[in-house]
């Protein structure tokens, strides 16, 4: 878990979600980066996203107990 309090002293480590070339540029500079080959959840089905988010919210209390 990062925070603005500590960010300026941390090594920048990146997830790149979307345009692959951003990750390529970071790789070339030796910055730790994982490219996420993102696609719309459930093929873009908004209803499914809504249902998943409802489940996430319903289970939120268990999430905070789990390790981050």
């Amino acid at each position: 878990m990062s925070s603005l309090k500590t960010l300026f002293n941390e090594d920048v480590k990146v997830f790149n979600v979307g345009i692959p070339s951003f990750a390529d540029d970071l790789k070339r500079q030796g910055v730790p980066v994982v490219h996420v080959e993102w696609r719309p959840p459930a093929g873009g089905n908004k209803r499914v996203i809504e249902l998943l988010d409802r489940i996430k919210a319903w289970q939120a209390e268990y999430q905070t107990q789990a390790k981050s």
């Binding site: 459930a42 489940i55 789990a66």
Partner: protein, 417 residues
């Protein structure tokens, strides 16, 4: 329903049962004697529930052949009439604790394998594999097919039954684990499994009371059919997944299956419910002389192997499979890698050598499939859409997303306040 459900905990319980299940081959029996709810006029089939009028060619052919075999009809024309009549009942194998490959048609007098999960006590059943080409499971119903079924009932079944009485039980879990390390994925590739089985059975078989020619014929029968083991890997997978039926709140899949018309799934937390959508066309390599227009949609209960983390999920163990869609060995690796994204655990028993012996992706999570949009990957044979012609190729296929979307709706309706 406002019960306090912890989804993660429910899934953990499901995974724990799946990991600790130990399917063993106990023996054989006749379906009507041992399959729960079996009766003379009941036809069990692969896939989710379906009526005669909606069945595809191979399934109809298999039903017709089975009716002739059971004596309900003398000719195919007669069999068709009987099949459509109220005299005959149909039910999915999955609702009777079993599985069947391709059409998966089973009737009362057929011999079936008995597989028992030693850890939890549940049992699963499956018919014996007839071989390749013109066979009942591909919808063939010729005299040759019926004659073979008769021989299986009269010779093959009894000989193997006695063999297992002498041998004792055979641990299928460890046999599958070994086969996975010998180039099988135990859905489309079963050669190693069949070989291992042959080895286990042969000495005991020689000690049975069968005639020398029967013994030889039985061994030749097994030897001549690379997929003989499939009819054991499938009920083994079924017995493993059955242990997770049913767990409140769990989103782990316990069934993926097809009947040639529909694809169906079941979820551990949604007791007895089916979620179906049209079965897809398989993309693959076809045998000489066949084209895409000859192919039947996806059919069979063999997707139980994928549901269990083997079959297509262990494609990295059988790279030859992926050539079916012109891919390379690294594609096979990739397919398996993708499956880790939609599963909860890695198998503690089924390991994949080319992934550094990583456990195969186990426990398909409905929520992860929906979130990522990654559909389970299935390898399968392709049947000719007309009955009686047989296999026309093999390839890769996915379930339709709709099954998972519907299951998700049902889950939220059932559990989320």
């Amino acid at each position: 329903m406002a019960t306090k459900i912890n989804v993660q905990a429910a899934n953990k319980e499901a995974i724990s049962r799946i990991q600790t299940a130990v399917p063993v081959l106990k023996g054989l029996g006749i379906a009507k004697d041992i399959v729960p709810g079996m009766k003379k006029n009941l036809i069990l089939h692969a896939g989710p529930p379906i009526t005669w009028d909606r069945m595809s060619g191979p399934m109809k052919g298999a039903v017709m052949g089975a009716l002739i075999y059971e004596g309900f009809a003398k000719t195919p024309e007669e069999a068709e009439k009987v099949a459509a009549s109220p005299e005959i009942e149909y039910a999915p194998w999955h609702e009777h604790n079993g599985v069947g490959p391709m059409a998966g048609v089973a009737t009362a007098s057929m011999p079936v394998w008995i597989v028992e999960n030693k850890t939890h006590g549940n049992r699963a059943y499956c018919t014996l594999n007839e071989g390749l080409g013109k066979v009942l499971r591909y919808g063939a119903y010729s005299e040759e097919v019926i004659a073979r079924l008769n021989w299986m009932r009269d010779v093959l079944g009894p000989v193997l039954r006695e063999t297992l009485e002498i041998k004792g039980e055979i641990n299928l879990k460890s046999m599958i684990a070994q086969a996975l390390q010998m180039g099988d994925e135990v859905h489309n590739r079963n050669r190693a499994g069949t070989s291992l089985l042959f080895r286990e059975l042969a000495p005991a078989l020689l000690d049975t009371s069968a005639s020398p020619s029967d013994k030889k014929r039985v061994l030749e029968f097994i030897n001549g059919n690379d997929h003989f083991f499939l009819n054991l890997s499938m009920p083994a997978a079924k017995a493993i997944l059955q242990s997770a039926e049913w767990i409140d709140g769990s989103t782990i899949l316990t069934v993926m299956c097809r009947n040639g018309t529909d694809f169906g799934i079941r979820v551990a937390g949604l007791k007895d419910r089916w979620f179906t959508a049209p079965a897809q066309v398989v993309k693959g390599l076809l045998f000489p002389g066949f084209s895409e227009s000859d192919c039947n949609p996806d059919i069979g209960d063999s997707a139980i192997t994928e549901t269990c983390g083997i079959g297509g999920f262990a494609m990295a163990a059988a790279p030859a499979i992926v050539k079916f869609v012109g891919g390379s060995a690294s594609d096979a690796l990739n397919y398996t890698q993708k499956m880790y994204e939609i599963t909860e655990a890695e198998s503690t028993t089924f390991q994949i050598p080319s992934l550094d012996f990583r456990g195969s992706p186990t426990g398909i999570n409905l929520l992860k499939v929906c979130e990522t949009g990654i559909l389970p990957q299935i390898n399968t044979g392709i049947a000719h859409k007309q009955p009686g012609i047989g296999q026309v190729g093999a390839g890769l296929v996915n379930p339709p997303m709709k099954c998972f979307e519907d299951a998700l709706e049902a889950y939220v309706e059932t559990y989320v306040p």
